[in-house]
Symmetry: none
Subunit: 212 residues, 4 copies
DNA sequence: CATGAATGAGTGTTCATTCAT
DNA sequence: GATGAATGAACACTCATTCAT
């Protein structure tokens, strides 16, 4: 009996999470109402509050798994032995952009981190940590590409690398075009930007070495 | 006699503009309410409507002067005969970043396509036009650097160039550090990023030509 | 269990309808605010939106049932075989007045063209249609009385007939006297007015025919 | 010097009254804003408050002269020796309808009389008195038409007569069509209605006398 | 005498959230 | 475990009115 209950409960919660995830991603956090989520998840809007303290908390609980998943993907790519480092980096960038554009809502979390009330800062920290880990993985892969140790030079380069990614995101995050369409159209450009940066880094390295 | 009146009026208007600029930049256009602006500008929310026809018009009046000024600076640089194109582009990038960071993060407005519904009237179009002009000026300068005609290749490169700039802006816009300090510390990195991109473009061009 | 809920809900909705009806009639649609309705209906103004999509829809739902009922009564009278046409018309007029006065002065809504923007959607059109149907039924009955075909002459006469009815309504709608008392006292006058109009129409017809 | 001042002052006041009158009549009391009046009267909106305590008071001061004028017109018609009583009544009805449709705003005064604050009830009473006088003039003229003394019979008839007028007003007061256009189109119908009523009254009189 | 600056109360509407069931 | 009913706060915006000049 209990199991049946809790089973249903689990299902409802999952439905809410799935629906909210889809809606947040498609329309943006602000543009989605609790009632809308409830309707699509086929439950009452009050039911959501049984599982999530607030809309914000729903967003948080929603983001962690996605971010974790992204991190896992990154790690998979790292461990793939078949890909040359440059391809790895390209693939990572694609994944990163894909993920961020598909989770437009995450912006609000990343950016408004500071506004989180002090008494619930733990999830924040977790999110931040994963962000740093992802950053680190990509920096290392860039190091591989350029045969560079983990030094200040690499840090500077990877910053520039991330400028490019953030620039892409900030350019396209608020576009109203459906994400998939957008991506299909733009992925080649993004790939090109990665290639060019690597070429640029290498060329710059030669210059620097020449000087040194 | 009148001067006291008009002086007060000027001050109020300025306070509204300043406050709105700060708030829009920090929280995004949608997330800021007229009452919030009014409260921080220490006036009634209805007072805002004395000076600005609507929230959207406030945004517009807020963005236009800065953008126009930026465009003028860009044109000055273009016309300078003493600088080689690469230096011009670097200088433009500096100006661009300087300007966006100094105009308290209005870059969200500049970059953000959100406030630019295509089917709306003139105001946004003006903003958009200036944005396009600035983009165009820099694209042309990049063309000079790479000895490229104004074709699709150049367009793709200049997009990538802008990703870098936007990425820089979105990374540092929310920093609490005073802008000047920030800039002094980071300008070298930004310069480096421009250099690397140009190197990358050139290297990529050789590859493409080799192929062709 | 549910019954308590749904009971309360029914009551609230009814309270809103009643209150809105009274207020619209007394002060006019535009002059009544949702908050005012809510306050008098002893609920929050947002509660209204639980039951009615908008202010306009509230007006609509308020008018439709009464109007429909009135139309049905009219049709009954038409089909009665025992009454001579003149009596039918008198009875219809009585019903019309009765109804409008009883439905707390909704006549402002019925008569008032204001809420009937032509370029709007269905709801007002429905109301308008019923209004026209009622008008049509009475016009036809007037035609029977005067042995007139459905031509412009009849249209002109029936307009005048309706002026009389509307005049009665606009005269007595704002009286504070309870409707029933009012009606008992005035019904003879109203009857007289119908008689006089019919006499007048007939006399006028003779004149017109004499001319022709 | 003083005279110049007070001259200007008078002019301003007159401009305000004229403009407000026009606007109230064309758009209705509620739909006109003080700023709109001021702009068209070429003064500041605050200036209006130098001459009129409030918007409502402006409406009142505006209505009295018009009503008085209407009364005067009625009296002129009464005293005209050339017109037969029936023509007089027709002309009076025309004037009445004309006036009321041209001063749509007066509705709010007539109808909302009760809502006037106690401490300024004098104008109310004045207005009411004039209304009664006008009613009386027309009743007497109707008496002339029907060769009836000022008894209950005449009172009943004149009530019916006014139902017709009020019906016309309530039908067309809220039309958005410009008044003049409306009137040109409808005046014939109104004339017909007066004729028919008189015919009806006469016929009814014969019936009553036959009975008696 | 006249005005520009400023405001509080109000409009319809939406939303996340709570409470009783 | 789940829900319908209900609400207060907020949104952009308008208005009649007041105050200092």
């Amino acid at each position: 009996m209990d199991s049946k209950h809790s089973h249903r409960s689990e299902e409802t919660k999952k439905a809410i999470l799935t629906t909210a995830g889809k809606l947040f991603a498609n329309k943006g956090y602000d543009a989605v109402s609790m009632r809308e989520i409830a309707k699509q998840a086929k439950c009452s809007h009050t039911t959501i509050y049984l599982y999530f303290k607030s809309k914000e908390s729903l967003l948080h609980q929603l983001s962690m798994p996605s971010l974790t998943q992204l991190k896992l993907k990154m790690q998979e790519i790292v461990q793939s032995n078949t890909l040359p480092p440059e391809k790895k980096l390209k693939e990572m960038s694609n994944q990163f952009i894909h993920f961020c554009l598909n989770n437009k809502n995450l912006h609000t979390i990343f950016i408004n981190a500071k506004s989180t009330r002090v008494d619930e800062q733990k999830p924040e920290l977790e999110i931040n940590q994963i962000r740093l880990e992802i950053f680190s993985i990509m920096k290392n892969t860039l190091g591989e590409c350029l045969s560079l140790p983990n030094d200040d030079q690499l840090l500077a380069y990877s910053r520039i690398f991330f400028y490019n990614l953030y620039g892409i995101l900030s350019t396209y995050s608020y576009q109203h075009e459906p994400t998939e369409v957008l991506l299909e159209r733009l992925i080649p450009t993004f790939g090109l930007s990665v290639e060019i940066l690597i070429l640029g880094f290498k060329a710059n390295l030669k210059l620097v070495e020449g000087e040194g």
